[in-house]
Symmetry: C2
Subunit: 700 residues, 2 copies
């Protein structure tokens, strides 16, 4: 969709608001274009100047000798619209609006931004910003920004919603030895968003890893679609900040209360294969790992060390990060035993001892890399007296090349004494850390991505043929007409039943006689529940009677419930009493839905019952494109899964039935966007089949 | 107890195994002593040399001109014993045994080490090692090690079980700008352990922070006692590795299965106020924080930034690390509003904007530091065009001095452009990081320690007067005589009852008649349970009948249970049937005990019932010195606490009764070390009182 090739590599660039004054943004941009080695034409635009930095300057973009491919606008906000209009007229295809003073300043700025976007639409221009630093591409090369400096050339694209982050990371990257393919400052994201840039970077042959810093996503479905496709091609690593703004999320349902503000992002990222960095250091550690090392076949890590303590620290971290310590084959063990000193530990972690020189590391590393049970290797070096850091590094570089499919990491634990080795590794793109933990953490990131890529290209999808939309529509019609947002239990039961969810028969009755008659039809025993959209906790007001076994008991029960409710809540309007077939007890589950502004419906599954908010044993998925495979994963993440598989000698429950209910509920909320929240709690899971008992649906 | 002043500062040092050959450990040690500026006398000992490094050499320590205060032994393992013996004879008080070849090499080495310790005891010598790197003290100064280099002088003591870690950290410390008071390599810890060195460092006026790397603790109670005292005086920060060796811990009780191998350490550290570092980077980040900054009054953090994104990242981390964002007073807000540009964010995080020079930082920092609602401050600096890193750093240094009670941290996010500022901060001991996260993390460490220090000096203790040890002894006597390790339910009930734990009346019966007779006495309804130490899951074999309401039902139940068990488990020995009063249902809790080899009994509390292992809602404490305050904290850590306080409109349960049961059980297992494991599951908590239902006790 978004082919931004000519955006990053335009034939010519106009700089509107170019300046002769050093330090002014309009001057820095022109200089940056020149210094970056950009090979296209540069048209500085400024009515007051004849030339800037030795290049002819034009009074307006219309006066430039040819239409510019890209225009960088750096004039006061009030003049941006006019400049954009001129660009459009002259046939400019891409804008970078550096100027601030838009959405970020309030109402007027927002309106200005809206009109700017309209101008872009009118002329079919694509725009980065406004209120951004610009962009850089080291492979074109082009520096279309006012950042001080140009990154080293490499294969990491960094897309950032924060301009300051761009400046910081650029400055830091030189000492960190980190290179980039692109640097993009998104600014206000009025037109081009992270989704467009991720999409483009996914196709960019010079980009191997996509890094993002974002604070929000506005178009959830677009982001999901793009990120899902991009992350199949290359790793997309995102640091999403703003997770603490949870605050007071008003939610009436269990599911809503369980879903924090960050949950939708967390779920979305996982579901579309995005790797989520938890901190800035982790973002860049992961970037280096992916840029420099291959994705391993599996999770089995080998560690080679010249001292016990750091080996143990690394081993701890392997377990902590859900990786596995590799178990060597007999052949490997025999070879290690035959060559290494007898006091060495030949099992994983291999301890080549404090007096190890490079040759001993070479031997151990060669054997370990060759072992088919080893997926990745971490080499730890402590500066003992005879340690040969540089020679050891060179050995690693050489052997690493011989096993290009196995990630190789180093932790050279020390300072000056190890510098030579550290430098050599860094130049050879073997990530080298001071401590073991970040190395293991990085491998864990690689393994996680390997699992993501293993997912089938074409997911099996739910395919239900027996859904009755008409019934649902009719019920919603009536509820809306009744000026209600909350469905009665009997209505909600009918809704889910129309979508094939097995539900305990539930009917509304308005008199003792009617209730008893319906109970006769449903079959005994039955449960009676007060029917009122205003009463949330029915038991607390004496609004529930269970285990009624006869016609007369139902009649008496109806009257008792009505009396109770009248006593507790004399002014609450009541629709009658629901008669529900009493179902045998099964494993109590909850299946619920809440809706996220950006990403749409989130479906929840977990342990149900009255303690659902206490136990918080719930996993979530977006319903968008939900596959049976994802539902299985979702169930498996909960403790409820342990129960379903048969806990303490119980027979396993019918997990297939649960999967199907989840699929049907997902379909229901996708088909009916007016469902804002729903809870089925409990769903009873049986040995065979399952049954929804209490269904709550809120519509908008 | 362990006054090691003369160990670290001996009047003279003998080096047994001193050498003239450069690179040999015996030569490095002599050179290190000289180079460190050690002012006492040095006596190299080597029968083959007349002088080493310009100092007269002696053929044996007995021939030295005066008895040495400390002897460093670096001869082959086989000769160490003899050397130690000679040291003892000449009145040496302290040994550092560098030589390897002891416990770490196997059986013979272990025996050698045992004899070495005996020699130390015989002559009342204290010994560091064997198999260690030695020690350094920058304030004496003395370098009694073979490490390459001598640390910069500062106030951090680093005590390490791993010698390699000492070498690594020393080498790294120069580039990290980290100084130390002491560096101690513990080696095999045959005599002096981490506990002795922590105890000594706690008294050392030149040590402000105690850092430890350990892999195990052998004498748990000694460690606890020392660490508890030390951590009241100064922060004790420990990286404990080996957490992954969990493996297959065979345990028959719920409590045992819930307690991983790392749990005892985790619990011990927390209970004695030790700060646990989770990684090597965190260990040193915390060290710097404690060495350079004060402990804050509270958890309220203010952030000042020149850009939004990093401010949000920092804010996220404040919440993530259980800190709070400070809320400024009206005065502060007014002042910020009056001086900062209108686009600034004057609320926390304060955004002084990208064009902020040092003066704007000064204004904001001054006002924020002065705000009584601010406990600590983090200043973020991104390299925008006009940023003044050095001036901003100087401002921070100046204002930091004016508010010495408020921790001040920096994240200067960039590279070269910020170096001047970073260097100035580092010299002024204001910790400066590249990214915001470690700064927040460090503050979280400081705040955690502040809470630890707030604990009362003298804890209130449980004081029970009604404990009947005789009954317990008599029961254990009988059980041992019966060649059993597992108590019958009725016996276990009697044991806890003897310690004042309210328990449902339970008696053993051996015939239907007897059972019914006892039920008559206890009162109906009753529960019958098969009594056999071999049957773990009684319900599964039809060994339980509940709700028996009459004499005849009990008789029939007895027969039925016996029949069932005989059918399922024909060969299992059965002691009869237990008759237990059926108690009304309360909140189901578990109170259990497991025993750790190093640290003794661990008591568990949490949600009980059959799902205890599924829900894993359990908190732990060591019973050693357990106070009511700790028990309250323990309960409050669980979800069960939410239930006990009254969930969903329920009346609160009798938490005092639960606290008392925990105290009594703790006393029981402290008094009877033969109790290896016990579970009370469930304990029913009521509105008033509580009652133990099923008690399992295993003895050794």
């Amino acid at each position: 969709m978004a082919d931004l090739t000519s955006f990053f590599n335009p034939g010519s660039v106009a700089v509107i608001g170019a300046s002769r004054s050093p330090g002014k943004i309009g001057n820095v941009i022109v200089k940056n274009l020149i210094k970056s080695g950009y090979r296209g034409k540069i048209f500085p635009v400024n009515p007051k100047e004849a030339e800037i930095e030795g290049i002819p300057c034009y009074p307006s973009i219309e006066r430039a000798p040819e239409p510019a491919g890209l225009a960088i606008i750096s004039v006061p906000a009030a003049k941006v619209l006019e400049a954009a209009e001129e660009c459009g007229k002259t046939g400019v295809k891409y804008l970078v609006v550096i100027s601030a003073g838009f959405k970020e300043t309030g109402k007027e700025g927002l309106e200005l931004e809206r009109r700017l976007v309209e101008t872009c639409k009118k002329y079919k221009m694509r725009m980065l910003g406004p209120n951004c630093v610009g962009f850089m591409d080291t492979h074109v090369p082009i520096n279309a920004s006012f950042a001080a400096g140009f990154p080293m050339k490499d294969e990491i694209a960094f897309i950032s919603q924060s301009g300051a982050m761009v400046l910081s990371i650029l400055d830091w990257s030189f000492q960190a030895g980190l290179g980039f393919s692109k640097f993009v400052s998104l600014g206000n994201k009025a037109e081009l968003t992270e989704a467009h840039l991720i999409e483009d970077a996914a196709e960019d042959p010079y980009t191997k890893v996509i890094l993002c810093y974002i604070e929000d996503v506005e178009n959830g479905p677009h982001f999901l679609e793009v990120a899902r496709r991009a992350s199949r091609k290359k790793p997309v690593i995102i640091l999403k900040s703003g997770t603490s703004q949870a605050g007071a999320q008003a939610a009436s349902s269990h599911t809503g209360a369980l879903a924090g503000s960050d949950l939708a992002y967390e779920t979305a990222f996982r579901q579309c294969g995005v790797i989520r960095a938890r901190s800035m250091p982790e973002l860049f550690d992961l970037a280096v790992a992916f840029a420099c090392q291959p994705v391993p076949k599996g999770e089995k890590v080998a560690i080679i060390t010249n001292s016990g303590g750091p080996g143990i620290v690394a081993t701890d971290n392997v377990e902590l990060k859900n990786l596995k310590m590799a178990r060597f084959t007999k052949e490997t063990l025999n070879e290690l035993r035959s060559y290494l000193p007898p006091e060495s530990n030949i099992y994983n972690p291999v301890d080549v001892l404090g007096d190890a020189k490079a040759d001993r590391y070479r031997f151990a590393l060669e054997k370990v890399l060759a072992d088919p049970g080893v997926d990745s290797v971490v080499v730890l070096v402590c500066p003992a007296g005879v340690t040969e850091p540089l020679e050891t590094a060179r050995t690693m570089i050489e052997l690493g090349k011989a096993y290009p499919e196995k990630p190789l990491f180093a932790a050279f634990m020390g300072g000056e004494r190890l510098h030579g080795g550290v430098r050599a590794l860094s130049e050879a793109k073997i990530p080298c850390f001071t401590f073991p933990e970040p190395a293991i953490s990085a491998i864990s990131g690689l393994v996680g991505y390997a699992r993501t890529r293993e997912r089938p290209q074409k997911e099996e999808v739910f395919n239900f043929k027996d859904l009755d939309k008409k019934i649902v529509k009719a019920i919603f019609y009536d509820v809306k007409k009744d000026n209600r947002l909350v469905l009665l239990g009997s209505e909600a039961a009918e809704v889910v039943a129309a979508y094939g969810v097995p539900v305990a028969p539930t009917v509304l009755s308005s008199s003792p006689e009617e209730a008893a008659g319906q109970a006769d039809k449903i079959g005994y025993p039955v449960v009676l529940k007060i029917a009122s959209p205003k009463i949330m906790h029915k038991t607390d007001v004496g609004g529930v009677k269970t285990g009624l076994a006869t016609h007369d008991q139902v009649k008496a029960g109806f009257i008792e419930i009505m009396d109770n409710v009248h006593r507790y809540l004399p002014r609450v309007s009541v629709y009658g009493v629901e008669v529900q077939k009493m179902m045998p007890k099964g494993i109590e589950l909850i299946i619920g839905v809440t809706r996220d502004v950006q990403f749409g419906p989130l479906i929840a599954f977990g342990l149900g019952g009255i303690y659902v908010n206490l136990l918080k044993d719930v996993s979530f998925r977006l319903t968008d494109g939900l596959s049976p495979r994802e539902v299985i994963n979702m169930i498996a993440e909960t403790k409820a899964y342990t129960l379903l598989r048969g806990y303490r000698g119980e027979k396993p429950a019918d997990i297939k039935a649960i999967i199907e209910i989840i699929g049907r509920v997902a379909k229901l909320v996708n088909d009916f966007p007016e469902i804002t929240e729903m809870d089925i709690n409990p769903v009873f899971a049986y040995n065979k089949g399952a049954c929804a008992l209490d269904v709550k649906i809120t519509i908008s």
